[in-house]
Symmetry: C2
Subunit: 339 residues, 2 copies
DNA sequence: CAGTACAAGGAAAGGGCTTTCCTTGTAACC
DNA sequence: GGTTACAAGGAAAGCCCTTTCCTTGTACTG
């Protein structure tokens, strides 16, 4: 690869001059030299070495984001919002998929630190694992201590600013709809227990149940992978355990879609025989049959807020922004059939 | 941020020793020093500066991939395959979304070159734009001339190795099914004209039509954005222009889903009144109603092959790998209603 | 006991860039 | 004409690491 020095030699000028021209420094350079340098750049197809630049410059301009999996629509949306703000502010973003592996998450924090990113954004659900939380916090604090900015979405006890989606409240709202409609046999298709998202949403559901003097017994909650197939598996289990179920609450839309598939296979009509609701309102939710009644989280905005917080001037103490959830009514919820 | 020198000072050793210990160099270091250094690393929460490392080391270990949009399931799948191989081979991957903007694609090639990536993988559809193709090729050649590796998926006249999904053949196969079923009024929901993916798939459709002595007149092809809403818009237009349509071929599954939505709104049953088929077989295809008959492309494998090609030893002349398409039969295709 | 071999650690030279500080040359001033 | 001021360009230090090449000291060998 051609280097700055190569260009300088070819143009017959010093490296300093080339650097100034290439970077558009305010220092004035004569037209003649400028042309010679630009020509040399063209001829050599010179592109500055980003790493050398980073080393030499003081200011960082890259931010890192750690998600569970960008190809999951939930994170795709968050990332979209994040990217928008990032490019508005001239920042590059590095995306890291942890695939829900806490260790990998730890590794990625190190990696991003090594990359000298300006900010780290943690967008995945938290884990109920004190040991992990502790080491993660240690790493984040170390990073922040040296000027790094951190912001997290939906994670309680982590250093840094946070934007908190209303997981509990959203679940409460949708739970209310279910109970208000008169459902008594309701099953929950849940994500893994150790995710804070799971427990938060479950808590909201329980609050709604209490309000309607119902309970959500453990046998009516089935934990599985946080995706379509997990949702299908959990639904099978729930249905096998209690065929009288008239409603299934899935903890996200992907799982709800898995539930829909199982119900269809078993010849159960939704919502006539069984009601199904989801969570997140991912784009596909309106296109499945029946269209999914679900809880909407403004994901794009959540992503945008998260990075905005991180990029704003350092704040004395961590800020927390709440983001509202609303239920969107579509076709998959109905009262239980009479009898 | 703590630097190597800080650690060395604190441990009372030379920088060389710290480097050796931190990187696990084969050179033997006494237990005592090793411990002292490791302790200092801990205490200072030292993480090596990746950019400095990159500068100092000779070998690159990052690859870049340029896609239209990772959150699009098509690219998500490709990226998944790619990531798998990358991490098997200890490579980091940088993902760039061009959002179908040719200029941005050019910029990203520069950016990746600046990042000193070992290989660049172009996964998005090509454009029918000679000027653009020329500048892209120039940039890629310059990159390859300095040892960079390039591989592209589904792009004809580009430098570097290529893996070619059978777009023409896949479209031909699905087209045959449609015509064989007896459809005479078929509309095509197409992506933008300037994408090579569009023209390739259209060509396959035309070949099938010829075989059945049919034609695909221009008024039966509606071009729109390559996504769900584009598919919906194109379907509206097609239906308005000719209500007798008995089959709609969408050029990808997202568009097909948009078509399904419009048909449902208009009270047209699929496949009884209108047949709909898609392309790509993205995961959601089996979960919509009716389940989509579509063309399957082994996307994960395509991604894996693309990076594998790029990472293999340099080859004298570019290699091209063809990847097969197969049609997967589900529920959205049926013969036209009698009459 | 002189001489060799090797183990363990350090010094220092890059790697490619930015930026501060200097030098040189010319124009403007009194 | 001598001084000052500034414009335009260059020299060189510094960013943080890796790695080659040295140095030193110890353990062996004959």
């Amino acid at each position: 690869m051609a280097t700055l020095a190569d260009v300088a030699r070819r143009a017959g000028v010093s490296a300093a001059t080339v650097s100034r021209i290439v970077n558009g420094s305010p220092k004035i350079v004569s037209e003649e030299l400028r042309e010679r340098v630009l020509r040399a750049v063209q001829e050599l197809q010179y592109v500055p070495n980003a790493h050398a630049q980073l080393l030499a410059r003081s200011h960082r301009t890259t931010v890192g984001v750690i998600v569970h999996d960008v190809s999951d629509p939930y994170f795709a949306e968050i990332t979209r919002g994040l990217q928008r703000v990032a490019s508005e502010q001239g920042r590059l973003v590095i995306i890291c998929n942890s695939y829900r592996d806490p260790d990998r998450e730890l590794e990625y924090v190190e990696l991003l630190r090594a990359q000298q990113v300006e900010a780290i954004i943690l967008a995945g659900s938290g884990y109920h694992d004190p040991g992990f939380t502790k080491s993660l916090n240690a790493k984040l604090s170390a990073y922040m201590a040296t000027g790094g900015r951190v912001s997290v979405v939906g994670r309680h006890k982590l250093a840094g600013d946070a934007v908190m989606p209303a997981n509990e409240e959203g679940a409460y709202l949708i739970g209310r709809e279910i109970f208000a409609a008169g459902h008594r046999h309701v099953g929950v298709v849940a994500a893994p227990k150790q995710l804070t998202t799971t427990t938060d949403r479950l808590a909201g559901l329980r609050r709604a149940a209490r309000e309607y003097r119902r309970t959500l017994p453990a046998r009516r909650i089935e934990y599985a992978e946080f995706d379509r197939d997990g949702g299908a598996a959990a639904t099978e289990a729930l249905l096998d355990a209690d065929p009288r179920l008239t409603a299934i609450i899935a903890l996200n839309d992907s799982m709800a879609i898995g539930a829909l598939a199982v119900l269809r296979d078993r010849g159960l009509a939704v919502p006539k025989d069984v009601t199904v609701v989801g969570f997140d309102d991912m784009p596909i939710a309106r296109d499945v049959t029946p269209a999914l009644t679900t809880v909407r989280l403004p994901l794009v905005e959540i992503g945008a807020r998260a990075i905005a917080l991180a990029l704003e001037a350092q704040h004395p103490n961590p800020r927390v922004e709440e983001v509202e959830a609303t239920v969107v009514h579509r076709e998959s919820l109905a009262p239980p059939r009479a009898g």
